[in-house]
Symmetry: C2
Subunit: 297 residues, 2 copies
Amino acid sequence: MKHLQTFRLIEAAARAGSMRRAAEDMNITASALNRRINRFEEEFGAALFERIPGGVRLNPAGELVLHHYRGTLSDLSRVQGQVADLSGERRGHISIACSQALLPYFLPREIARYRAEHPGVTFSVNVRDRSQAEQELASYSSDLALVFEPIYLVDFEVLHVIPQPVNVVMRADHPLARKAELRLRDCLDTPHVAPSVQYGVRHLLDFAARRGTRRVAPVIETESFDLIRHYVLHEGVIGFQIPIGLKRPDDGSLLFRPISERDLPTGNLILGQMRGRTLPVSSARFAMQLAAALRDI
Amino acid sequence: MKHLQTFRLIEAAARAGSMRRAAEDMNITASALNRRINRFEEEFGAALFERIPGGVRLNPAGELVLHHYRGTLSDLSRVQGQVADLSGERRGHISIACSQALLPYFLPREIARYRAEHPGVTFSVNVRDRSQAEQELASYSSDLALVFEPIYLVDFEVLHVIPQPVNVVMRADHPLARKAELRLRDCLDTPHVAPSVQYGVRHLLDFAARRGTRRVAPVIETESFDLIRHYVLHEGVIGFQIPIGLKRPDDGSLLFRPISERDLPTGNLILGQMRGRTLPVSSARFAMQLAAALRDI
DNA sequence: CCAATGCGGTGCAAAAAATGCACCGCCCGG
DNA sequence: CCGGGCGGTGCATTTTTTGCACCGCATTGG
C-alpha cells in the first residue's frame, strides 16, 4: 500500500540506525528519506528520532508510531483477506513462528493440508526459540506462534495447549533401550547431546537436573534438533526431543523413550497469537486447523 | 494526516453518493477524485463502489475498508495523545454522545472540571437518542456515550452504570404534589407531557403502561426535555425526567416525585464506549472522571 | 422518441510534489 | 587537527497529481 510508504521508511531508518543506510536499503537517496521523515515529524507534531552522533535512534514517540503502523498494516491485510473472502478468492499469507520440533512432520503435513484446500495462500515459517517467538508476535512479524514451553509474556494469547513429555532419542542398540521409561539420572549418567539453553526442552532438563543437584553436561550442545536426531545414529549417545518432532523410522534404527514424570515435568506445546489482535481470515482458519490437529494427536 | 487523504476521499464519496458531489465537497475536481479512487481500487485489488445510475454506492468491500480507515484514524489520534502525554502537553479532543438529561447540569459541570485541569482539551457534545448513540460509537464519531436505557448492541461496552428512576415533574401547586411517591395510574390519569418514543424514559413508560393495559396519552409529545421542564410551569400538567437532569429551583416552583418501583422499573444510565476500542488518553481519563462522578451522585 | 441532464471515465497539458545531486556544518576517532 | 560519516539544505530534474475539456452512457421529462 503506497500511502504507508513513509512508515516503511521510518521503520527502515529505525532498523538501520542511520538515515543514510536506510536510504540505501530502500533504494532512494538520503536526502529524500531525510525530508520525508522530517516532514512527517512536522505534520505529526513530534520528533520520532533522537539524532545521535553516528545516526538516529527511535525515541518513545517513534516507538508508538511504529507500533501503530504495524497494527495498521496487520489490520489492512486482514481487511484484504476478508474482501478476498467476499469475492470467493481466498488468498492471503500466513506467517508462523515455531519451534524446531514442528518442522519435520507436523507443520509440513498441516500446511500441505491447508494449501490443498486454499492454493492461493502462501506461508512464511520462521524458526524461533521460545523468547523470540513472542517478540515476533508483538511486532506483527508473525501471525501465529507454535512453541514448546514459551516464556509467558503479557502479549501472548494462548489458543491451544497440548502436553508434550520430553523423550529420549537413541539408537536401537543403546543400553538404555531396554527400559520402557527412563529416569533422569539414567540420562545424565549417559553421554548425551542436548539443545542449547534458549530452547524449552533444555530449560526443562536444566531445571529438573538442578533440583536433583545434577547438571546437564552434553557432549554436544547444539541449536539444531535435526543434528541431535542424526548424531545419535553415529555414536552411542542419547538425545532429547518432544514426540511431535519424532517419528519411528521404518528401519527401526531409532528409538524413543519417555523420561519419568517423577523427574521431569511434562512440557506444553502452545499455539498462540498476539493478545487482542484480530487475525486475518486465513491465519485464523489455519490456527483453527492447527488446534484441531493438535487435539487429535 | 496527509497519507490518509485517499481514505478521506473515499469516505466523502460514500457519504455524498456521487463522485462529483464528493469532489465538490473536498474542493477538488471530479476527475482527480475519480482517479484516486480508481487507482486505490486497483492497488487494493477490489472495487470499493458499485457504480449505479446516478452515482456510486459502497459495496461490502468498501464498507470494510472504510471501517479500517476509521479504526486507523482513531488509533492514530490515540497515539498522538500518548505522544502529547510524553511531552507533557496534554491536548486532545473528546467527543461524547449523550442523552438530553445530561445537558443542563451534569455534563457542563464535569466538562468544566476536566477543562480546568486540561485547558488544551476540547469537546464535542452530541445529543443522540439511545439508538443513534451506539451507531455513533460504532462509526468512531464519538468516543463515549452516556445514555439512559440504551438498546444494548454487541459493539457497546459498558464502562459504568447508575440507576435512575423516572421522576414526575410538576408545578408546586399540582394536586399530585401531596403524595411522596406516585403510582403510574396517577400519572396516566393526569394530563401529561411526554418525550417521544425514541427516548428511554418514554420506552419505560410505554412498557409499563402496556403491562397494565393502559396507554401513555400525552397532551404534548416532544423531543425536548427542556420544553417539558418549562411547560409544566405554564399548565397544571405533569412531565417526566430522570433525577440527573433535574435540580430543585431556588424559588420552589418545580417539584419532582418518583414513580413507584412497583409500576415502573428503575432505568439505567450507562456510560459506554465501542467494544474493544482503545480510547485516546484524554477520552479514557474523562471517562474515568465521569464514572467517578456518577458513582458519587 | 428525443433532447437535456447528470453521471463515471479519459487524454492532455499545467501545476505540484518528490527526488537526486552537490554541498554545508557538525561531531567523533585517530 | 583532520578525515570520514552523519543529518540537513538549495536547486534543478523527474515523477505524480491535478484541472480542464470532452466522451459515452443511462435516466428523465416533455
